[in-house]
């Protein structure tokens, strides 16, 4: 634990959840539950009043976790949560609007909305849970599936390269871009708080793990092993000494990866009515 990962004892996760809906639908070992906890923890730490919070989520495993949060929740169509959230935020700038999406929802069917939300720098926080797979539909290849992986639609191994969603978001103009993994819960919480506090568009990629539909089929081990494997891929600077792996500069980085002070959409839209 570093100094920035102090734990607030007053945070009561259960007070943020719709407990009547439990047990949740997630598979054993799925990282999305950790992401859910990190999210509500971040809402708490960012001081967001839950009546002023709105969560817009898409379709897939990621899209279903919004319903567990006791706030204004909108579970919309596949790939379109950023479009709905854009309308909601422009109509109701008083609301804190957070999008929960997945790698398929955000980068495949919804990819167009992502790049334009970044370009507009619309005042939303977009949390993309990346588990490298279409889990809810049974394990089909996604835009972030690593090359050579077995999925139900790549029975001979994936021949497509994966998106680096953070580089995409940064290039398209997102105000804040960051990446963290579910293994590092306090660090993930802190990154989410940074995203929530940033005016303009924040894009947070959360590396989650799908052990049941994806990891199991690719010999990535039990949930803890799969997380460590991800950690080796994501934090070589921290973990190379312990996992005996050489530093690879092309490996994905974590933390805040890009930040700009470019004005958000709401700051610019006020100029329209002044003209």
């Amino acid at each position: 634990m570093t100094a920035m990962t102090k734990i607030d004892d007053r945070f009561d996760v259960r007070s943020w959840l719709r407990e009547a809906l439990f047990p949740h639908f997630l598979c054993p070992g799925c990282g999305h539950g950790i992401a859910l906890r990190a999210l509500v923890w971040a809402f708490h730490d960012a001081g967001i009043a839950r009546d002023r919070l709105a969560i817009v989520s898409g379709i897939g495993c990621s899209g279903r976790i919004g319903a567990y949060i006791d706030t204004n929740t909108f579970h919309v169509t596949h790939g379109r949560p950023l479009a709905y959230a854009t309308g909601l935020k422009l109509a109701r700038p008083d609301l804190e609007v957070v999008v929960i999406t997945g790698d398929g929802d955000c980068l495949a069917i919804g990819g167009n909305h992502l790049i334009h939300a970044c370009r507009r720098n619309i005042d939303l926080t977009c949390v993309m849970l990346n588990n490298e797979i279409y889990g809810m539909t049974g394990g089909q290849v996604s835009p972030t599936t690593a090359e050579d992986r077995w999925t139900t639609t790549t029975p001979a191994g994936n021949i497509e390269p994966a998106f680096d969603a953070c580089r995409l978001a940064e290039a398209a103009g997102a105000g804040l871009v960051g990446r963290e993994m579910t293994l590092h819960l306090p660090a993930l919480r802190d990154l989410l708080v940074e995203g929530l506090m940033h005016p303009g568009f924040s894009f947070i990629e959360v590396i989650s793990d799908c052990t049941e539909i994806y990891g199991r089929k690719n010999d990535l081990g039990l949930p803890a092993e799969m997380m460590l494997c991800q950690t080796g891929s994501l934090r070589p600077d921290v973990y190379t000494s312990t996992v005996d792996q050489p530093f690879r500069p092309n490996r994905l980085r974590t933390g805040v990866l890009a930040r700009s002070d470019r004005p958000g959409y709401l700051a610019r839209i006020s100029r329209v009515s002044d003209r």
Partner: protein
């Protein structure tokens, strides 16, 4: 040339402009759109008008995003619309289904152009009237209105918002490219004279609030985010709690209420105009610009001693059945005229049930139906020379 009188401003407007001005007058404060011929003037007008009244205009990255943003704004509690045409209307369909199931009020104007596919972007058509009713998947409620003049575009757009809000349904305003680009004089209503309707809002304690409770009028009050209800909205089939369910009994009851909503409010929704139908032997059924040619043809036929009449549905869906049955009571034959290969005629045939011959005049060459075509057909029918089968031309 603007003149102000006690009755309101007199303006020369294009149908597309009238649609935008009607929307703003109805309280629309959010518009998301994407450029497409022949509806782009609606977006352009909204981009000018909305900032003046504290509203927001945004041009989205595509047609799907426009529909999504409209629903997001509406779920935030703001009256919202988009406009499109042909290919764009196809792209709106999935999110129109979301609006129908989640009961999110919204208005979509579809300025019909020649299809299918890219078709004829600058040519009129009435080829989307079945898509407007059945475009999205699954059984769903939707209201479709079809104005026939620039003035009517204005007032039907206002009514579309009122219906969308009152019933929590998507409402589609369809008009053809001719109406969209036609310039006519419109007497705008005097400020403050329009009757405007807001959706039923949830009131009272958030404890035990059920977002889809079955109310006597079948329209549940809507929770406004920020008011403390913290409701869940989903495109999954849901219980009255708003949360997903697949319990057969609960699903059946919820969907029956959803579909029954429009039946329950038929009197509010249905609207039709009748011209000389009291003693009509030949009843012409037409809507939009085609109805204007039909009105002329009926007058010409009457001048020649043929008892013709016109039934003009202004609400296309749900179809104004009761008024139609009354109008058709004395007719010996019906003639359905529309700029497509035969769409609304199917509904007329269903209502007539084979009791009378139903002829059809279609046109799919990108030109509007003209009075002379209709008059010739009416005269042939009156002389007994026209049968249902012979009337099938397109």
């Amino acid at each position: 040339m603007n003149a102000i009188s006690a009755e309101g401003e007199l303006r020369i407007l294009q149908g597309n402009q009238a649609c935008a001005l009607g929307a703003v007058a109805a309280g629309c404060r959010f518009y998301a759109g994407y450029p497409i011929t022949p509806s782009s003037e609606i977006a352009e007008q909204m981009a000018r008008e909305l900032p003046k009244v504290g509203g927001v205009f945004i041009q989205m990255e595509d047609e799907i995003a426009s529909m999504g943003a409209v629903l997001g704004a509406s779920m935030g509690g703001v009256k919202a619309m988009t406009a499109t045409s042909g290919p764009g209307f196809s792209l709106k369909q999935e999110n129109l289904g979301y609006a129908a199931l989640a009961e999110v009020p919204c208005v979509v104007a579809n300025v019909m152009r020649g299809g299918p596919s890219t078709g004829m972007p600058t040519r009129p058509s009435q080829g989307d009237v079945m898509q407007a009713r059945w475009g999205t998947h699954g059984d769903h409620p939707i209201v479709v209105v079809a104005p026939a003049s620039v003035t009517e575009v204005y007032f039907e757009t206002v009514r579309a918002f009122n219906l969308a809000e009152r019933l929590r349904v998507p409402v589609v305003v369809v008009f053809d490219e001719v109406i969209g680009h036609l310039l006519e004089t419109v007497r705008l209503p005097a400020p403050g004279t329009l009757e405007l309707v807001d959706r039923p809002w949830a009131e009272g304690s958030p404890a035990n609030f059920r977002p889809y409770a079955e109310t006597p009028d079948l329209v549940p009050p809507m929770a406004r985010p920020g008011d403390g209800y913290r409701a869940h909205t989903t495109g999954l089939t849901h219980a009255d709690t708003g949360f997903p369910t697949q319990d057969p009994a609960v699903v059946e009851r919820m969907l029956q209420r959803l579909l029954g909503k429009l039946d329950h409010h038929r009197a509010l929704i249905e609207r039709a105009e009748q011209v000389a139908t009291d003693d009509a032997e030949i009843l012409v059924v037409a809507y939009g610009i085609t109805a204007r040619a039909a009105r002329r043809a009926v007058a010409l036929a009457r001048a020649r001693g043929v008892k013709a009449g016109l039934f003009r549905p202004i609400t296309l869906w749900p179809f104004p059945e009761t008024a139609f049955r009354a109008a058709a009571a004395h007719a010996s034959g019906l003639l359905v005229a529309e700029m497509n290969a035969g769409q609304l005629v199917l509904e007329i045939e269903r209502l007539v049930g084979g009791a009378k011959p139903v002829s059809r005049l279609g046109r799919i060459d990108g030109e509007p139906i003209v009075p002379a075509q209709l008059l010739a057909m009416i005269e042939r029918m009156a002389s007994g020379g026209e049968t249902a089968a012979a009337g099938r031309q397109a």
